[in-house]
Symmetry: C2
Subunit: 345 residues, 2 copies
C-alpha cells in the first residue's frame, strides 16, 4: 500500500468488504452500526493509516468543535486559574479552545471575533468587559459570559453580593472599629459590583462605622502599589488606634496591601484585619496567608462550558431555532479564614 | 437585497462591475489589484454584508491560520506570561491560537495533537516536556519549542548557562561564604539544566564553597513549601553564622523560600542572599522584591512565533519540501538586582 496516497472511503470499503454507505455511516452516525462492525472499521482505519480530514467534515455537517475564549488579561491569577479550568474540560467534552487576550482593545477584539465566526466556531466564552452583551447576542451563536455584564446573554457568575456580606461579617465578628472596602469604581451591571453593595448593605443594616474607598488601582503592580501605599498612609492617620477591617477587591491587591504593611511594620500589625476576594493562588502564597472570599473557579468554568454545550446541542437538534431567554447561573462563594484575620493561627 | 441570502462572488462582481476573476484575486492575492480597486471591493463587501466562509477557503488553499500551543501548566507565572506574549502576536501575524494545557498527561496530549492535525492546523508551539522532539518532528508540520528538549525541532531558549553564571557571580560579589543552588533534578537535554551547570562551573572555576541541592519541589505551593521549609532548617543548622547565597530554580519557589524566612525572622536575615529565575511578576510583588535572572518573555515569544511563521511561509512557497535542519535561537537573560541581594535598596 502506497503510504503517501490519501485513504478514501472507497479504500476502506474495499478493505473491510462493507459498502461505502456503511463507511460513511461509521463517520456520521456510528451508533447505527453494531459495536462489532464499528470495531472492524476502526481497526481497518488503523491498518490503512487513515488520517481524518476534519475540515472536509466541517463543510459536511457544520461542526468545528471550536470554541473561542476572550479573556481581558492573564495578569490577575483569577483569569489564569479560570482559563486553566476551562481548557481542562477538553477531556470531558472534546471542544478545542481558541484563546484571545483582549487588553481592552475593542477594535482588535471585534476583528478577532469576526474572524472566528468566519471559521465557523461553534460558541464563545467571554470574560472580557469590552463588548456589551447586546453586541454579543447579535453574533447569533451560543455565548456564555463569566463575571461581566450579561443582560442579553447566558452567564455564570459568583454571588458577589453574598461575598461582600461574608467579608464584612467576618471583619465585624473580629470587632473591627471601622470597616473599609477598597475597590475600583465599577458600573452597576457588572456582577463584581455586588461586592460593594453587599459591603454597604451589611454595614448599614448593622449600624457599623464604615468607609468605601473607590480608587482606580490599574492593571499593573506598580499602579496598584502607588495607590495602596497612599491609602495605607491615609488609614494609618485617620483611624490611628482603631481596629481596622480592610476588605480589598481582589487577592492580587490584598497581597500588595499586606506587603506594604509588612514593609512598614515587619509584620501584620494587631490593628489590621484583611480580607481579599477570589481565593487566587497568591492568597495562599503571600507572606502570611490571606483570608479571602473564594470564587469556585472549577465550578464557574465547568458550569460555563456545560451551559454552552447545552446551547450547542439545542442548536443542532433544532436547526438554529431562535435561542431561548438567557440563563444566568449563580455560584456561591466560599469564605476562607486565614492568617490575615485569624491572628492566632 | 435579501439579507438572508449568502452573497456570492457573482453578486460582488455584479455590484462592483468587476469580473468574477478580479473578485477571486481580491481574496486570494489582493496585492495583484491596485489599492483603489481593493478599496472599491472592500466597501462593496461591507455594503453587501458579505460574510466570508473561511472553512471553504481552507479546503481551497489549505491555510487555516491556526497554530496550536501546548503548555504544561499555568501554575507558574512564567507560563502565563509567555502565553500572554504569544497570544498578543495575533495583531502582527494574524495567527489564531488553539491552547492546550497538558498537565503531563502524554496520552491526552497526543490525542489533542492528532485532533489538531485533522483540523489542518498550520504549526505548533510546544512548551510542555511530555513528548520527545523526535515525535514532534514526525508530525511533519512546523514545530517550534520553547525551553524544553529540542534536538529534532526548531526552538527558542534562554541562555540558561549564562543565567546560572550570572546568579552565582552576583552572590559571589556579595561575599557569600557558601553558595547553594536549589533545583529539581532534570535531564541534561532540557535547556533549564544549564542553570545547574552554569552554577557548578562558576563555583568550581572560582574555587567557591558551594552545595547543589536537588529536590523534587513539585508543581503545587504546598509541596514546594514543605520541601523548602525542610531545606531552610537544614541550611540554618549546617551553615549557621555563615553568609549564605541561595540561587533558586524559579521565582515562584524563591518567593516561597523568602516567605519562610520572613515568617521565621520577620525580615530577610542579614546572612541570607537570594536570587531567583524568570523575572516573573511575583519577583516584583513579593514581600520584598526578589533579585532574579530575567527571561525575556516577550522576546522568547516573538522569536518563537517569527521562527514558526518563517517555516510556514517556506513550506507554502516550496510546496511542502522537506524541512531544513532545526534552528535553535538563544536569548540572553538579564540580571535584575533587587532587595533580596542589594540590602541597602
Amino acid at each position: 500500500m502506497n503510504k503517501k496516497k490519501n485513504i478514501t472511503f472507497n479504500d476502506i470499503a474495499k478493505y473491510t468488504n462493507f459498502s461505502k454507505t456503511t463507511i460513511s455511516r461509521y463517520f456520521n452516525n456510528p451508533d447505527s452500526l453494531t459495536p462489532e462492525n464499528q470495531k472492524i472499521i476502526a481497526e481497518a482505519l488503523e491498518k490503512l493509516n487513515y488520517k481524518e480530514n476534519k475540515v472536509a467534515r466541517i463543510l459536511a455537517n457544520g461542526k468545528t468543535e471550536f470554541v473561542g475564549i476572550i479573556i481581558p488579561t492573564l495578569y490577575y491569577q483569577y483569569y489564569s486559574e479560570i482559563l486553566t479550568q476551562i481548557l481542562s474540560t477538553y477531556e470531558q467534552y472534546g471542544y478545542k479552545f481558541l484563546v484571545f487576550i483582549g487588553n481592552e482593545n475593542a477594535e482588535t477584539e471585534e476583528r478577532y471575533i469576526r474572524e472566528l465566526l468566519a471559521y465557523k466556531i461553534e460558541g464563545l466564552i467571554v470574560l472580557s468587559h469590552t463588548l456589551p452583551s447586546r453586541q454579543l447576542a447579535d453574533l447569533k451563536i451560543p455565548v456564555v459570559t463569566i463575571e461581566r455584564e450579561d443582560k442579553y446573554v447566558s452567564s455564570v457568575n459568583t454571588d458577589n453580593y453574598m461575598g461582600g456580606v461574608q467579608a464584612s461579617c467576618l471583619l465585624a465578628k473580629h470587632n473591627c472599629d471601622i470597616l473599609v472596602h477598597i475597590n475600583s469604581p465599577s458600573s452597576e451591571d457588572v456582577p463584581a459590583h455586588g461586592r460593594i453593595t453587599g459591603f454597604l448593605d451589611f454595614c448599614q443594616e448593622h449600624g457599623l462605622k464604615h468607609e468605601m474607598l473607590y480608587r482606580e488601582l490599574g492593571s499593573t503592580y506598580e499602579s496598584a502599589r502607588l495607590q495602596l501605599a497612599d491609602i495605607l498612609e491615609y488609614l494609618d492617620a485617620k483611624y490611628a488606634g482603631m481596629r481596622k477591617g480592610i476588605f480589598i477587591s481582589n487577592d492580587t491587591h490584598a497581597n500588595v496591601f499586606l506587603n506594604l504593611l509588612f514593609r512598614k511594620y515587619g509584620r501584620l500589625p494587631d490593628d489590621y484585619y484583611i480580607v481579599g476576594f477570589d481565593n487566587a493562588p497568591i492568597s495562599r502564597e503571600a507572606v502570611i496567608s490571606i483570608s479571602t472570599i473564594g470564587q469556585q473557579m472549577e465550578k464557574l468554568a465547568s458550569e460555563a462550558v456545560s451551559l454552552l454545550v447545552e446551547q450547542l446541542n439545542e442548536r443542532k437538534n433544532m436547526n438554529s431555532a431562535p435561542f431561548k431567554e438567557p440563563v444566568h447561573k449563580v455560584i456561591t462563594p466560599i469564605l476562607y479564614r486565614r492568617e490575615t484575620t485569624e491572628k492566632d493561627l
